[in-house]
Amino acid sequence: MNEEKKRKTKVLTKEAEGIQHLFARESASELSVVGQPLGRTDDLKKVTGKLAYGADYPQEGFLHGKILRSPFPHARIKSVKIEKALQLEGVAAVLTAKDVPGRNGFGAVIPDQPVICGDKVRFVGDGVALVAAQTEETAHQALSLIEVEYEPLPAIFDPREAIQPGAPLIHEKGNLLLHNKLRKGDVQKGFAEADVILERVYKVPFIEHGYIEPDITMAIPGDGALLVEGPMQAPFTVRRNVAAVLGIPISRVQVKSIPMGGGFGGKEDAPIDIGCRAAVLAARTGRPVRMALEREEVTLQTAKRHPHIMEIRIGAKRDGTLTALEGTIYNEQGAYASLGPLTPPAGGVNIHSLVMLPGPYEIPHCKVDAYLCYTNHPYGGAMRGFGAPQVCFAHESVIDELARELGINPIEIRRKNAFRLGSVTATGQVLDQSVGLRDTLEECARVFGWDRRYQRAGYIDKERTHRRGVGIGMGWYRTSFGTSGDGCGANVYVHEDGSVLLYTGITEMGQGSFTVLPQICAEELGVAIEDIRLVQPDTDRVPESGPTVGSRSTVLMGNAIIQAVQPIKKSILEMASTLLSIPVERLHAKNRLIYDRDHPEKAVPFRDVAAKCMASGKRLIGQGWWTPPPVSLDPETGQGNPYFVYSFSTQMAEVIVDVQTGEVNVTDYVAAFDIGKAVNPKTVEGQIEGGVAMGLGYALMEEIILKDGWIQNLNLQDFLIPTMADVPNIKPIILEVENKYGPYGAKGVGEMPNIPAAPAIVNAIAHACGGRVRSLPADPEKVYWAIQEAGGLPVPK
């Protein structure tokens, strides 16, 4: 392969000075498993087609479950007649609202979505009845035989209208679900000090996760517990919802996460929905029930990315120093609460958007209001970035517009204001460790060639049909989700032959957790990764560990694993010390050996030591439980330390715009990250490349189109996600500015990549052709009209 084409992955490691590491460990150069770009543990099964996903599981003996959905965005249910459906041969059950045995409500935070709607429906796709039948075909037929009489109600589709007095109520308690506030300093004073003030409005739409595997779940009644299994990111959330819906104790529900064909946050929500519904059918019939969604059903009923309308007012001095930022976010929740509302002190999409809107910049005076509004649309839930991609589009666009207004290079305005170690955020948090933002900016600029490319913007052909431009996006993102109950638990068992069982509640959706977590376990024990078998996440076998979201897995579960290994390691080292007659302090465990640091030839194999421990009753089991440092956020002022550490990224894009059609081609892309420590650099690159591609889709082509509450583009023919031909070569740069709370200094990386990508591209479009698009996606039509609005094309020299 051409050497020039190979990406440069530069690893810059900074040891934080004077920081007491959480767990005593080797310096980076002594690690043998962590930090290695190992192949994934499940690759072989995937590449041979042997890995079983949910739809591949045996179906014999299962009933097939289906949902009858509302055709109205807002309506009262007057009657539901199921007799004809019940009479169809092969139908085992037809259930309505009264048949839900426990709580008729589910939800990740607030259980406000009916398992089966009884009195009213709130969006097209709301569930009105459930059917279980011998075949999918029969279940479909049964759905068509259920007669429902609706009384349509006035529907609300705009979040700003929804919170006006007199708007039709979607939920009894009102359409304003939450109003979060951030108040830092005095924005009036800040604006008074500004030489320039800009006011802009940015909008982003509903989009779909677009995981290639549609949702599916299986609910199986059993002795002592009902089992729910399927592809899912949040087995514990599913478990507590199923228990409440069935009206049984949590200990009588067992939930297993099975191989997932992608998640991106969507498989945090959807499995709660179909899990509860399949469970109700299974409990009622006493039979196993399989509920599989077709692609159109996934789009119709499952959670999406929250649309935001963001009004921003920003003030700066002539030299680009920011003085004040005022923002209002109308956050469209849709019909049900999902992950929008607050889990104190700083969990939930709305509060996260609030905190992140000012961007990774030092701004002395900030005022933000974020309104979370119900509408009669499908609902927003968790999607990669959780509010950050939305607000990053706003802050990176407006700072670019400000740069243009001031006549300053976009890189300079960011150099003027970007966070550094010791900076104070908009919530008043002092960033006292692990702030590699400026390193990402400089390194990205160097590798991308920002200065050179910035100068050469303009027409690329003498026919004057295509123009080239470049753009920057900068962002930051938390590790984990800022709630008080945040924690992860792991179990580790070592056996007499040196083989290891690892139990975690963290799931694998392609991000690489099933490789990275065993890497950490292997490093800690001093064994090879092949010696570790990670057991499929099962709520019966591990402590409640929260969902696999929020870029939290490597840090929280990694630390829990390190903790779990400590008592095992103590036994191993003490036994080895006895066997070798060498004090414990001189011993080191690596590559399946325990050896004297100073005389490595004095060694004993790990498995021999393990066997001796087992034979003499020395403990080889461990359980870890790790919770992050306490977080805080004042509910009135939004001041506090909402999240305990942040990752940072700068991304740069070059685009070519066809000025006759508005079509945009992204031709070059460099993305730099400070993620503390890359436990597996190859999987980190995978997250970077995938996240950037997702951001490219958000920038240029993705949009759930709604008309009168109906989704117009239910399948992939009309909801466009990037193909291989749409995405350029992406060059990832990994920088490591250690996090004192992270395993080996690591911070989260899963979501950071797709956050600054959309604004980097939209900024590049503006640089190329002067057209500023302020609502995503920047599809050809919008780009074309933006060029016209900017006064047409610049006259060439």
Partner: protein, 170 residues
């Protein structure tokens, strides 16, 4: 009506279908209207071919019919009568992986794995037709298989590596 129930009872409406599947001749009774993806998965038990959208957009269901990539979710099973079909299961020789499969693993081109069978087979069709494609040809050749996880970068690298390996091993 979508797909077919997993239990298949022979009745007089069933059609007889004979074709070559992964190098072996197969004869099977098929209900009229059965799509190839469902025949492979539910009747013949080959679950490596995935179903993602059922409208020929995502490419997860790609199999090779006479060497050409086809969306098996759209193709009536009867259309493969007398023809040769290759699924992901047919690529390896015993324990030995195809060079393309090995390249995908070596380059880290697999994340959730759901698009992988479709990607690997489409790669084979591309390289069988064009043994040394440039990057543009790779990206366009594989644009019919969607991946949401990888951003495609390492898949491109894997195809380049496989192309080199195949040309070197002749």
């Amino acid at each position: 009506m979508r797909g077919l129930p997993s239990e298949t009872r022979l009745d007089m409406n069933d059609l007889g279908l004979t074709f070559h599947l992964n190098g072996e001749e197969v004869s099977v009774a098929v209900k009229p209207g059965t799509l190839l993806a469902d025949l492979l998965r539910n009747v013949l038990g080959l679950k490596g071919t995935k179903v993602g959208c059922r409208e020929g957009e995502c490419g997860a269901c790609t199999v090779l019919v006479d060497g050409e990539p086809v969306n098996s979710c759209l193709l009536p099973a009867m259309k493969v009568a007398g023809r040769s079909v290759t699924t992901i299961e047919g690529l390896q020789r015993g324990e030995e992986l195809d060079l393309i499969q090995q390249a995908f693993m070596d380059e880290g081109a697999i994340q959730c794995g759901f698009c992988t069978p479709g990607m690997v087979l489409t790669t084979k069709a591309l390289l069988d037709r064009n043994p040394d494609p440039d990057e543009r040809q790779i990206r366009e050749g594989l644009s019919g298989v969607l991946c949401r996880c990888t951003g495609y970068q390492k898949i491109v690298n894997a195809v380049q590596k496989a192309s080199l390996a195949r040309r070197s091993s002749v």
